[in-house]
Symmetry: C2
Subunit: 303 residues, 2 copies
């Protein structure tokens, strides 16, 4: 049974604009906190080594803090820092009452266990939402600092008022950072949520057949332009989480960012689609800021 | 597209026998620990009030401990115990080096927060596997004390050598105790695992259509005989997690245990099916014992 794909007029889900709107809301809250005599939220970022991508991500996070009126602190280490030294710094940040939340930018050098470092962060200050305590609370439907990219996806669905209840959501990719948590969130009895969720991955058979049944398709596998027209049901909502750097001589930087979806082919079939760049990406930092605000206000964990 | 259901010769997945085999393995390990001069594992169970079901469950857990050579301690409270008193007892058990693991039998009286009590348990001693720390580690694929019923299902698939890799597993029911964690476990890159997993629930549309695509169908919604023949693909493996007490005048006890699957109708269609009782149920206690052994040996969390 095949339905002839029909060209529809699709709409872009503008993550950049949405992230800007969220940042403005946060900035207004910061002003209100200040006006009420409270301290402003303070995010610290720990960066180990000189990975180009990490440098960029951390710089953007610090800039975003300034933008919304947060205080921010950047803590840098060379990549020969020992695990014990890094763990000691994490503990110091846990104890530091001036810091509301902090992140340790991943990846870390191979001699340092990322798991150990993440578990050393107090869940109350884990604004990346990577600590098992926050993930476990998310699974149980308890208050938690949610991982930024999955909650950014949920926030896009919310702000675009896209119906999710009873819809079939197919997720391609089962990473700990995106695919798995977003599959958990969208199946919950929440709004957005209440999707029937299918989680697909490299061992999935008949992937195209399954993804063609999706009302909402989330591509989060990290393979540029993997999702083609034959994998998408006409009228579907497509969320593209991929951001792979691909060499591109026509760009000044020498590379272009490619999503996991072949946009030209797929977009005309969809009702809504996120572009890359400018879709899910900008939401991640916005949700990090929102987590920091929540941590500063003590909204998630009782003090 | 419908395939005419064909009667096949199905095989029972015997959870009772499998649980007995696991208990014998544990008993042998306990003997070996003893012979090597180590203390035997010690499980404590806290029971609040006089709920009939809870009394039975806890009694069976204590008996199972004796059976495998564990020490066990039953701690009883009337249902007017305060939350603070219960939390103090949990903390005492956390500190008690004689106790390797303990459970607080649910449900608790309404004036006590089950979440607060569960989070008060040290994850290292949380042999029910309900603590967010253990759930979060499970999601991240890190060592964890896994919740007993989901890991009992995985263990049945393992011991019956039923292929899971690339199979489509449909789970009906998204509870925190069974449906959601088993959906997470079976999608992971593990063996058993690597299933394409669809999680269905009360908001799912076209449920029968979806469940008919399942190679492995897990019914965990708690509605007796909900799964009928038209919901099952011929040759499927069916795991029935339901155990609802239904009045039955022909039984001495006055009730019968009913699964979520209409066995008479569905069994002939399947390749393998768990009966109720005697399927998933007995595995739950076996996995609790296995968690206690792991906790005693310090296998999951470094000390």
């Amino acid at each position: 049974m095949t339905t002839a794909p029909e060209a529809t007029t699709y709409r872009l889900i503008d993550g950049k604009q949405t992230a800007e709107a969220i940042k403005e809301e946060i900035a207004a809250e910061v002003q209100a906190l200040k006006a009420a005599g409270h301290k402003v939220p303070h995010l610290a970022a720990v960066l180990v080594g000189h990975d180009g991508g990490s440098e960029t991500y951390v710089r953007n996070k610090v800039l975003a803090c300034e933008r919304v009126g947060f205080e921010s602190t950047l803590i840098r280490y060379e990549d020969d820092i020992t695990e014990a030294e890094l763990l000691a710094r994490v503990e110091a940040l846990n104890q530091d009452t001036r810091i509301d939340g902090f992140i340790v930018q991943l990846p870390l050098p191979r001699h340092i266990s990322a798991e150990k470092v993440i578990e050393a962060i107090r869940p109350e200050k884990d604004v990346d939402g990577f600590h098992p305590m926050n993930i476990g609370r998310m699974v149980a439907g308890l208050p938690a600092l949610l991982p930024a990219t999955p909650s950014g996806i949920v926030e896009l669905l919310r702000r675009y008022e896209l119906p999710t209840d009873g819809k079939h959501c197919v997720i391609i990719g089962r990473s700990n950072i995106v695919g798995t948590p977003v599959s958990i969130l969208l199946a919950k009895n929440l709004d957005p949520g209440n999707c029937t969720v299918t989680l697909c991955h490299s061992h999935t058979q008949n992937l195209a057949e399954i993804s063609r049944t999706a009302d909402i398709l989330v591509a989060a596998l990290g393979r540029p332009e993997f999702v083609r027209a034959d994998m998408v049901k006409p009228g579907a909502v497509v969320i593209d989480v991929g951001t792979t750097r691909v060499e591109d001589a026509t760009k000044k930087s020498g590379y272009a960012l490619k999503g996991d979806v072949c946009f030209e082919e797929v977009a005309p079939l969809t009702s809504y689609i996120t572009p890359v760049p400018g879709g899910v990406g900008p939401m991640t930092i916005a949700m990090l800021l929102q987590n920091t605000l929540k941590a500063a206000k003590g909204e998630v964990y009782a003090r």
